[in-house]
């Protein structure tokens, strides 16, 4: 039996206790251009070099998953010869995350302001908003209409919409789709900052990253750093899911999941573990409760914050069954391009499904262990790395659960309550706007 535990956002938009919200300032209300201006948006940028220095001093890191320093990316496109292009990447392929769609649906001007600033820093007037969500597209076009004739905006923006898929949000997939091809990743090099849209150096930034760029312009680097940690300053959007529902939360870096769960009314002691960074960073046991929410702290712990999606595995949820479900997703939703990826994800899914069903043997488990390290880095995009993270983290974090499945007596799995497809996918319907 498969029990559906797909979750719905249900308008749960929450700001962590005691902080001044930066992004979730007004619940689910749409922010138009005049309201955004009244909050300090679209202020003139008169010195690009000084602003780039501010971005560097702020320590702003990308929110798309890789946490790359934004100033470095800006500088690399700025210093490239000739014209360039900037892209706001709002194609949220990760089924457990809703934050990018929320931003585009409710605060498109915050994103467009960041896009304008990024364009000015790299020295271009050509910009693209790349997305798949139709309600988000409607809101972006409405926002652009509000800016029509506004000379201070001064950016030529094209909106490119693609069909949603896990791999479509990868930056080379965005570039290929904008260039008229399929929304599939390409191998690197070249990276988009070297050769991207129309062959030009291209800055591709996640929309939450661009929102933070606009906030940084309003707050200044010191103001921006008032919240967060030294290495992960500011706040971030966390899509927090349980089997019962999902919430979009604005959380300061530096607090712990124990604090976040307690604040949101979830008993941390009833947690078996987490699926971290959506599907990308794999599973982790209860030790994650006391890690500071910081990119580097999480990386040192062998996991990652990724796009900020956190799925709580409760006491009735088996980490093996969860990992099998995620690996099955990777096996189906990979780009079907790189042989190591479509073979590797499928092979790892077979082993994990056997393990979940208590039918795997030690030889299969040894193969899974080998693939979890050998296959890392063997795909053009990050899908195969996400899959190896799932396998490696299960073996590292939940050896007892693996052992139980080898013996054939997992109490959670005997109930037959496995995640529906896609596992822990958060529904964000158009009527949730």
């Amino acid at each position: 039996m498969t029990l559906s535990i797909g979750t719905r956002l249900n308008r749960n938009v929450l700001v962590y206790k005691g902080i001044q919200p930066r992004i979730l300032v007004d619940g689910n209300n749409y922010e138009d251009a005049s309201l955004y201006r009244s909050r300090g948006g679209y202020r003139e940028l008169d010195d690009e070099v000084a602003f780039l220095n501010d971005v560097s001093a702020s320590g702003l890191r990308g929110r798309g998953g890789a946490a790359f320093p934004v100033a470095v990316k800006l500088a690399s496109v700025r210093t490239a010869a000739g014209d360039s292009v900037v892209v706001a990447n709002g194609e949220e392929g990760e089924p457990t995350s809703v934050k990018d769609r929320w931003l585009l649906r409710h605060r498109p001007h915050l994103v467009l302001d960041g896009l304008r600033l990024a364009a000015q820093v790299v020295g271009t007037m050509t910009a693209v908003v790349y997305l798949s969500d139709s309600p988000a597209r409607d809101r972006v076009e409405k926002a652009l209409e509000e800016l029509r004739g506004d000379a201070s905006f001064g950016l030529q923006v094209t909106v490119v919409q693609v069909e949603p898929s896990y791999v479509a949000g990868e930056e080379t997939a965005a570039v290929q789709a904008i260039n008229g091809g399929p929304a599939l990743p390409t191998d690197k090099p070249p990276r988009p900052f070297e050769e991207g849209v129309a062959g030009l150096p291209t800055l591709v930034n996640n929309v939450e990253t661009l929102a933070n760029l606009a906030l940084l312009h309003q707050l200044g680097p010191e103001g921006y750093r008032r919240v967060g940690t030294d290495n992960s300053p500011g706040t971030f959007l966390m899509t927090l899911s349980t089997a019962a529902g999902a919430s979009l939360c604005e959380v300061p870096f530096g607090v712990t999941l124990r604090e976040v769960l307690s604040w949101s009314g979830i008993d941390p002691d009833g947690v078996r573990g987490f699926l971290m960074g959506g599907y990308f960073a794999g599973v982790i046991g209860p030790r994650a409760l006391d890690l500071s929410l910081d990119y580097d702290v999480y990386a040192s712990a062998g996991t990652g914050l990724g796009c900020g999606a956190v799925i709580i595995l409760d006491e009735e949820t088996c980490a093996v069954a969860t990992s099998a479900a995620v690996m099955t997703y990777f096996g189906r939703e990979n780009a079907a391009q790189c042989g190591s990826c479509f073979n590797g994800t499928s092979a790892m899914a077979n082993v994990l499904e056997s393990l979940r069903d208590s039918a795997a043997d030690l030889a299969e488990l040894d193969r899974l262990k080998r693939w979890s390290t050998f296959l890392r880095g063997r795909g053009a995009c990050g899908t195969l790395d996400g899959a190896t993270n799932v396998a490696a983290s299960l073996l590292r974090e939940f050896p007892d659960s693996v052992e139980v499945h080898l013996r054939g007596a997992c109490p959670s799995c005997e109930t037959g309550k496995f995640p529906s497809y896609p596992p822990y996918g958060v529904s964000y319907a158009a009527d949730d706007v």
Partner: protein, 69 residues
Amino acid sequence: MEIRLDRTLCDGFGMCAEYAPQTFSVDEWGYVSLYPGKSNVEISEEDGVRRALLDCPVHAIIDTTSKNK
């Protein structure tokens, strides 16, 4: 000599890993990746890499020597 490998094109013929085994790492399904740092081809591997480049049925190996100079 500098090369890049387009793994989205590779069809797993695996000849490259036979011609230049220090450059191309092959998985158990026959698909290859470059070993780390091996986009800069070692002199001792150049003949094998050049043969792999010319023989690859899907042209997944690209000579980037002139482009990067």
